[in-house]
Symmetry: C2
Subunit: 335 residues, 2 copies
Amino acid sequence: MKIIIDAMGGDHAPSAPVRAAVRAADELDVEIILVGRTEDIERELSESSYNKERISIVHADDVISNHEEPAKAVRSKKNASVVVAARMLSDGEGDAMLSMGNTGALLASGLLTVGRIKGVIRPALATLLPSAKGPKMLIDAGANTNCKPENLAQFAVMGSIYMKNVLGIKDPTVGLMSNGEEEGKGDELTKASFPLLKAAPVNFIGNIEGRDVMEGSADVIVCDGFVGNVILKTVEGMGHVVSDKVKGIFTNGLFTKLGALFVMNGLKEFKRTMDYREYGGAPLLGTKKPVIKGHGSSDAKAVFSAINQAKKFVETSVIDDIVNNISGMEEKSHD
Amino acid sequence: MKIIIDAMGGDHAPSAPVRAAVRAADELDVEIILVGRTEDIERELSESSYNKERISIVHADDVISNHEEPAKAVRSKKNASVVVAARMLSDGEGDAMLSMGNTGALLASGLLTVGRIKGVIRPALATLLPSAKGPKMLIDAGANTNCKPENLAQFAVMGSIYMKNVLGIKDPTVGLMSNGEEEGKGDELTKASFPLLKAAPVNFIGNIEGRDVMEGSADVIVCDGFVGNVILKTVEGMGHVVSDKVKGIFTNGLFTKLGALFVMNGLKEFKRTMDYREYGGAPLLGTKKPVIKGHGSSDAKAVFSAINQAKKFVETSVIDDIVNNISGMEEKSHD
């Protein structure tokens, strides 16, 4: 299996992607193609010994930064690392691609170059969030600002398939994010989506509320990309602030530092639960081949998690299942 | 000053409202009118000595529960405690009202019985949320599921006035909740609202994102009631889960219990930051007189905070300032 990595994307590029690639080539039984500026990548690679048969470099001159307008950058920079990576994936030179760079550029490349699965109206970004009951999926986490009910129904189907295949959850529950649990609650979009989710081939449990995100009441949380982005960033921001506060408790004076010694294991466990690095990347669901967005601030550990996740994505039948179930939905809607 | 309290609303009614009223009558220089079933209220009152000159009871036979459809219940139950309280406020028998009961019923009573300030299109529920930089306001936190740009502009003005008057924040900053910081980001509503917020008499700092909620980047966070409800409940839910986890760190075995002794003060401080009870209730802004929603799970301490907040609301010029600024906005839009 070959995984194509945009080596130039993310806050810690190329260091984090390259170091993660070295580790993955050792531990995961995968080949890695690093796409980006050869010189920069080689400089990073030279700092460690690595499996030369499993890691190769494909040169790409350009980089799309986080500040660029995505669609425009993807059109104009044909030799940007993320664009080259997507073209290679589309051409069959790899089995999955991963980028920690500009989210919009990755989405545009996935949509335009890798392409949609037939019947999928819009691919969606699916993020795993920590909860009291383990990782849960938020879909759409930001790919589609304006959605229709049909989009949300497809998100539910694609998200369920991923959670079943990659996370091994049997018959994952699906909740529709709303402002109340009762069926009548919601804005125009969620009210119109409710019956479609009910009819979709998923384990729909009805409307859920914001508090259900962290309580882990549903395995798949369905919403449009605007609401999903707000939820994702609210949770991330709160994670940072709370971690800082908890850390602060243990750094004020000698007594509390002593206290920290007593609770070291508990603290580590707490930190792990709140740590996005444990949860890999966010798959773009609905494209013909696996495309994964790693967190922009990913360190080597986080990129390694995302590579591992890409591998599971490829090994399981996510794409085939989406192909089969989405075409099934289409047929139903023509009945 | 007379504060009217729906003594029958909330998970801990009538105990919590009555006990809070007893304390407020002692400590806050306010008179309290408790509205609800006389027998139930008297039974609670009989359990403590209280200032009889400052606490009175107005009988109301009915109660609207959390499970009832609000608008219907308010129309059909003319003698429900919340409806009677709103009628009394409207008739000038008190200066502010507070309820911990059914949110929709309070909103409907506020809107229909207390009435809107001239020029206010829709009143909004404004909640204070904890952040790294102190309490910040989320408006609308759930009163209006579907909003227009003009609504959001008015929410910004009303929220700023409240933060200035009641929380003493000079020139409060206003952020528009969106899915990106750049001016062009957002869904249809936020894009159309951006220029109106820019033109409004507020200290508008542009779009903000979910992470800014807890980071406290804006004093007033403006959004529609659907998004606001999702944010509020996501934060509340995360607060519960995190508090449980942090508590869990200190209850696993003797060593960690010893650890807790060392960090007691820090832990208390942390808990206080995450504790909604410190932040009082959520004012409904845009009604002719102060209406405040207390959290449904409020204990006596939380109800006391909300009474204190109601007092500040009455003492300051929030209502007058809204009257003056909203009519100013109307005039501008006719230029």
